[in-house]
């Protein structure tokens, strides 16, 4: 497809200050088995192009699923039409001279490609997991699923850039609920955040059957457990909750388009202001956060973003100090701050905006046992199930599926409905211990929503287990 596409499209590039054409093909396959029944299998293929034009002080885009030559020409005409119309009416027109010619490829490594395993084998595997999930008598709901996505992108522009990337990821999911005295408690496999760029060999790394039995036992145990009590305490937070904490209270507030006000009508702005970069103390000295598109198998790894910027690892926060925002080349021009390759679009039918890629909390030196044994009275929190934060990404409240009390340096009783709330500006300053590589997990979520028009995109987060002081923890009704 790429050579045909290039041969057809390249001569069509219009004579304007700048034009790019981004072709995207998305393949999606979802297989779910719920309560021992295979649900209708979903296979979808989505392809189209977006043409972006910057010309004479105006900009516009045209996007179409009509990939005939006539369809692409109509998209080019539409982009030119909007660029002419918007001349002199734009919030900002980029410095096009700073855009570089980029060429290169990126492909996810799949030791066992998705297509090599038959649909029947995948369905049979899910049915075996279903049986393992229903291993306790009070289980009322159970299910398992596998989602496979591949996203192929070709990017050409009038600077002679030529980029070809194909990202493939798999998201394994499990859910199991147990009921006791009209109250239901649910355990999931990591809050549906185990998405990675990998082939079907992901199941060589994860023993889904054993994990299913464990989740079933934990759901049954939770349904009979007392509510989490209300107290200010120390909280040890597992990676499958930490990723949400990083996502909502570091990732989103550092997005430069929020800081610049683009998102104020929808996803919100940020408590972070441009003058804070380079000097603001975001957290304790053990807080180190990177934008890292280079981590093998992580969900948003790539070589280029959707505006054609070369992707490199950069520190966002180092030793607790805020260094740079999550802003692409164009956003950085609006503030003269450093940029990262984070200009991403959910598909061919949406324009690129500042998005998280892989936003990672770098590991420290504490083992899990060292962290737990350092706590006299606290709680270990696992697996996100509720998230809410204000439009400036400051006042948050998050809920977890499972809490385990810590007494005198040891994990003790399980509690249900553990929630905690806090304020971002204070919370990270209470980060007191960061786990080592053995506690570190590479996770990712496929459904981060933002933008007008709205876009859902996949983002990666790798993080160790962490200990926080002075956390306001509370339970259910």
């Amino acid at each position: 497809m790429d050579k045909d596409f290039i041969n057809i499209v390249k001569p069509m590039l219009p004579k304007v200050d700048y034009c790019s054409i981004r072709f995207v093909n998305k393949y999606n396959n979802i297989i779910n088995a719920t309560r021992n029944v295979l649900e209708p299998v979903v296979i979808s293929e989505d392809e189209g192009v977006m043409v972006t034009v910057f010309h004479n002080g105006g900009s516009g885009y045209g996007a179409t699923s009509n990939l005939t030559k006539e369809g692409i020409q109509q998209a080019i005409n539409s982009a030119i039409d909007w660029a002419e119309f918007s001349k002199g009416k734009l919030t900002y027109f980029p410095r096009l001279s700073e855009m570089k010619t980029q060429s290169g490829n990126y492909f996810t490594t799949e030791d066992k490609p998705w297509s090599q395993v038959s649909m029947k084998d995948k369905a049979d595997f899910l049915m075996v997991i279903n049986r393992a999930l229903r291993s306790k008598s009070n289980i009322t709901n159970w299910g398992a699923g596998i989602r496979h996505n591949s996203i192929e992108t070709l990017f050409l522009d009038t600077n002679d850039s030529n980029i070809h990337q194909k990202i493939s990821y798999i998201l394994p999911q499990m859910i199991v609920s147990a009921e006791h005295k009209k109250e239901t408690q649910t355990r999931t496999f990591g809050g549906h955040a185990h998405a990675r760029q990998i082939g079907y060999d992901i199941f060589d790394d994860i023993n889904m059957i054993e994990k299913a039995k464990q989740l079933s036992e934990e759901a049954a145990e939770l349904s009979k457990s007392p509510n989490c009590e209300n107290k200010i305490t120390q909280a040890v937070i597992a990676p499958d909750q930490m990723i949400l904490q990083v996502h909502e209270s570091i990732g989103h507030p550092l997005e430069l388009d929020r800081i610049l006000g683009d998102e104020r009508n929808y996803a919100g702005s940020s408590f972070v202001t441009p003058d804070m970069f380079g000097n603001y103390t975001y957290g304790s000295k053990c807080l180190n956060v990177t934008f890292n598109p280079t981590m093998q198998s992580q969900l948003a790894s790539c070589k280029f973003d959707d505006d054609g910027t070369n992707a490199e690892k950069q520190y966002l926060i180092k030793d607790g100090v805020l260094l740079r925002p999550i802003g692409g080349l164009f956003s950085s021009q609006r503030t003269n701050l450093d940029y990262v390759a984070c200009s991403r679009a959910s598909s061919w039918n949406r324009p690129p905006i500042d998005r998280m890629g892989n936003i990672n909390l770098e590991p420290g030196e504490n083992t899990f046992d060292q962290i737990i044994s350092s706590v006299d009275d606290g709680i270990f929190l696992e697996t996100n199930n509720s998230w809410s934060i204000d439009d400036k990404r400051n006042k948050f409240q998050f809920g977890c599926e499972r809490g385990t009390l810590i007494k005198n340096g040891k994990l003790t009783n399980v509690v249900k409905n553990p929630n905690y709330r806090g304020i971002t500006e204070n919370f990270w300053k209470n980060l007191s211990k960061v786990g080592d590589m053995d506690t570190h997990k590479i996770l990712g979520t496929s459904n981060c929503g933002k933008g007008e028009p709205n876009q859902t995109i996949f983002v990666g987060h790798a993080t160790p287990t962490c200990l926080f002081n002075n956390v306001d923890v509370f339970g259910g009704v």
């Binding site: 295979l38 972006t52 699923s65 539409s78 909007w82 919030t91 809410s388 204000d390 400036k392 409905n417």
Partner: protein, 440 residues
């Protein structure tokens, strides 16, 4: 476009053998998106997309896939034929689907709203001129939306509408904002002028000194937009038959008769306004109105055809996710125009934001205040409040703590544009609630 849909339907149906059934769902939109920041254009362009979902049914098995179309039959026909062959090859590997159900009777519907030739450039210029001195941010989406259904048993349904949705906020110098929305099928300058006037009047008030609210319990007015956020959370399984059976519904205690709301609360799924299509993706025709909660008591759920087979109950053509697409909350008797007097001393909550559950089993919800929230004293605005987090149960908000509902409802069009423009909507009054709990 309908002719093209019929052409490809006929092309595919002609290739079927006697034991195969094919169901087609057609989705198309041609939309101009204009994104604004600081009263100017941030990004603008056009999206033209057509999607076809093809569902093959063969001897009790089902498999579906989707494809983008160009509307050029010479280009589309080959991939369509290839897809049909792919489905045939793969479907034999699958087990029988015990919950497979599709419409076998033929129900024809054709809803085509008048085309008003909305001029997005003209509207955009109007907006820019109006807000040139203000810090406005938002998005204008405009164009047509088409949804079609056909099956090889002979049924065809069509829904076509043209509309615009302008969703925006205006920020004052102190960082407070007023949020508004104007959506319709035809631009009316008088309505827009009136909304702009309301906006500038509220901006004067929102620039008053911020009123610091501390955690505690407050008498509040929840505007229709704020109520819509609460009802959205209730709809996360609350009206789903399946979710109530498996215990994941926030209203499962109500559905089991263990809890009730205030007697003035009645909810229905009401499709009579014609904004959402009346046909189900498997061809069933939806009832015009389904009473969900009547006088505070759980009355009926949304039941999908799959749930009807799993639980041996009658379905009401709800989609698989079993949540409302056009929900209505009946009005009450508090005079809308006198809401400040009725509130007297309390907080006027115009918008809520980022809601989620604190305790789903007990219908307990948390979230934050956002645009246009004011402290009110002696029936008058005092000033904007700081952002506050609330934490309350549905059973309090619409039950024990509910003082009343306003006598006027507001039609709220969903401005969501994930993947495609939404046709969801809700018709909701405002609510006066006592002792509403703020926590942070």
């Amino acid at each position: 476009m309908k002719d093209y849909f019929q052409q490809i339907s006929k092309f595919l149906f002609n290739q079927l053998n006697s034991s195969e059934i094919l169901i087609l769902n057609f989705d198309a939109e041609k939309t101009d998106f204009v994104r604004f920041n600081k009263g100017k254009i941030r990004q603008a362009g056009n999206v033209n997309q057509i999607n076809l979902i093809i569902n093959l049914i063969f001897k009790g098995k089902t498999l579906r896939t989707s494809i983008r179309l160009s509307t050029n039959f010479n280009k589309d026909s080959k991939p369509l034929a290839n897809i049909l062959n792919f489905l045939r090859r793969e479907i034999v590997e699958l087990p029988n689907d015990p919950y497979l159900m599709y419409e076998k009777d033929q129900n024809f519907t054709n809803q085509v709203m008048q085309n008003n030739n909305i001029d997005t450039h003209l509207i955009t210029d109007t907006i820019i001129n109006k807000f040139k001195l203000l810090d406005m941010v938002g998005v204008l989406s405009s164009g047509n939306i088409i949804k079609g259904f056909s099956n090889s048993l002979g049924q065809i349904n069509w829904h076509e509408s043209e509309s615009f949705n302008f969703d925006w906020s205006v920020y004052s110098k102190n960082g407070k904002a007023i949020k508004q929305n104007y959506s319709d099928q035809k631009w009316n300058q008088n309505i827009f002028d009136r909304l702009f006037l309301e906006c500038t009047q509220k901006l004067n008030v929102i620039d008053y000194q911020e009123q610091k609210i501390m955690p505690g319990e407050y008498k509040v007015y929840l505007s229709p937009s704020a109520m819509n956020e609460i009802i959205d959370m209730m709809s996360w399984g609350g009206f789903s038959y399946k979710a109530n059976k498996i215990g994941s519904s926030p209203l499962h205690l109500m559905s089991k008769g263990k809890k009730e709301l205030n007697k003035i609360v009645s909810f229905s799924e009401n499709l009579t306004n014609g904004i959402s299509p009346k046909f189900h993706s498997d061809g069933f025709i939806k009832p015009e109105k389904t009473n969900l909660i009547v006088n505070g008591k759980y009355n009926n759920s949304l039941v999908s055809p799959r749930s009807s087979l799993e639980y041996s109950v009658k379905h009401n053509a709800a989609e698989y996710y079993e949540s409302p697409v056009s929900i209505e909350l009946e009005p009450g008797d508090i005079k809308t125009e006198e809401i400040l007097t009725s509130l007297n001393d309390g907080i006027y909550l115009n918008n809520l934001w980022y809601l989620n559950f604190s305790d789903r089993n007990n219908g307990r919800i948390t979230g934050l205040t956002r645009f246009g929230c004011f402290k009110v004293a002696n029936g008058e605005y005092v000033g904007p409040i700081n952002t506050m987090r609330f934490d309350e149960t549905v059973y309090n908000i619409l039950g024990e703590k509910l003082i009343g509902l306003t006598d006027k409802q507001q039609l709220l069009m969903d401005s969501s544009t994930y993947e495609e423009r939404s046709t969801y909507n809700s018709t909701i009054p405002g609510a006066l609630v006592d002792s509403f709990k703020m926590t942070l």
